[in-house]
């Protein structure tokens, strides 16, 4: 009986705290005000584990293919580079203004900070999943609603080579004609 009362008290307390936080307006949702380290860690871990789990059974096709690179290149330039940048570019309105910030996909993983990447296949799988489904409450849209898997794999293939490209090579690969 005593335990039951204590439990009830705790639940009431938790609900109370949540309600206070929700309704008081003390949580700052401004995108130009970063999360505290703790909240950042919490979200980052949640996100990484969620993607990893959701993506774990996706089968990665052969990505070493010229056609895929061309298809992915054109799509990347038009749909992604405004947020994720391209060789020779270090910032854009989107890359600066969004929070969480879109990672610069034109530099290699160890250059963009704070991310843990597993083996190569795992990275491809994760990228495929993220591009297809997007990431909640971030600027990253779900492209799977409007693009088939083939187009998405093409972007995965392109992103894989992107950090090695010079601005000139990027221009050739992504041009319309």
């Amino acid at each position: 009986m005593k335990i039951f009362k204590l439990l009830l008290l705790l639940i009431a307390l938790a609900l109370g705290t949540t309600a206070t936080v929700m309704y008081s307006g003390i949580v700052n949702v401004a995108a130009d005000e970063p999360h505290s380290d703790f909240v950042y860690w919490l979200l980052e871990e949640t996100r990484n584990n969620s993607i990893k789990k959701a993506a774990q059974h996706i089968e990665v096709p052969n990505l070493e293919d010229a056609e895929l690179l061309l298809m992915g290149g054109a799509d990347y330039e038009f749909m992604c580079s405004s947020c994720h940048l391209k060789p020779g570019q270090s910032e854009s309105d989107m890359s600066l203004g969004l929070y969480p910030a879109p990672p610069n996909l034109a530099v290699s993983n160890d250059e963009h900070k704070g991310h843990e990447h597993g083996d190569e296949n795992q990275a491809d799988r994760n990228n495929f999943w993220v591009i297809k489904h997007g990431i909640k409450a971030s600027g990253m849209p779900a492209w799977g609603k409007t693009h088939d898997d083939q187009r998405i794999w093409a972007m995965v293939a392109f992103i894989k080579r992107l950090p090695t490209l010079s601005p000139e090579q990027y221009q050739i690969l992504t041009a319309v004609e």
């Binding site: 293919d65 690179l69 080579r161 000139e168 090579q169 221009q171 050739i172 004609e177």
Partner: protein
């Protein structure tokens, strides 16, 4: 199929332009190029069987096909020579000239490819790099291993702070040796 490609190109162009409206750095608008700039192709440290290399080749071969597919060998030689001058490709321009080419230009004469390559060509390249030229007419006649090409073009632009706007005449005589057309005479005037 061609029409579909065109429609796709226009749609994509519209899309880029509308996306570009998000980026407020005006420089990024100016550098949006829809056509692959294949003069910049680097392939030094890349293996031919690298899919990335293949992809770039595909893009650029397709472009060459487009600009010179329907050209006769003579027309193509002249076209490549013009492009080489415009893009400052000295080696390529030199290779299209017969060793003993005679060139009349601006009231002067140059009697070998080497002489031209070391003197006037560099100035011509600087000039052509910044000037727009539009071919108004081109007349080609081929007699066996000899051909002549007469072209009239319009040049516009600015060079050394001077406005350029005039018509230029060009007569070329080409000769086929060992299966290759080479330019053995050029007369330029305007």
């Amino acid at each position: 199929m061609k029409i579909m490609n065109k429609i796709a190109a226009v749609l994509l162009a519209t899309l880029t332009l509308s996306m570009a409206a998000n980026a407020h750095d005006p420089k990024s608008h100016a550098t949006k190029a829809l056509k692959a700039d294949c003069s910049n192709m680097e392939h030094k440290n890349m293996a031919m069987d690298d899919p990335l290399m293949k992809a770039m080749m595909k893009k650029c071969l397709h472009q060459i096909d487009h600009s010179s597919k329907k050209m006769s060998p003579v027309e193509k030689t002249v076209h490549l020579f013009h492009m080489a001058l415009k893009k400052g490709k000295q080696k390529q321009a030199r290779e299209l000239l017969d060793d003993n080419v005679t060139i009349f230009e601006g009231g002067r004469v140059e009697r070998t490819a080497a002489e031209y390559a070391n003197h006037h060509m560099l100035a011509d390249m600087k000039y052509l790099a910044v000037i727009n030229t539009e071919t108004l007419e081109q007349n080609i006649k081929v007699f066996g291993d000899i051909a002549y090409v007469m072209s009239r073009s319009k040049s516009t632009g600015q060079y050394k702070n001077k406005d350029i706007n005039h018509e230029s005449m060009e007569t070329m005589i080409l000769q086929k040796t060992n299966g290759n057309w080479k330019i053995s005479h050029i007369h330029w005037s305007n």
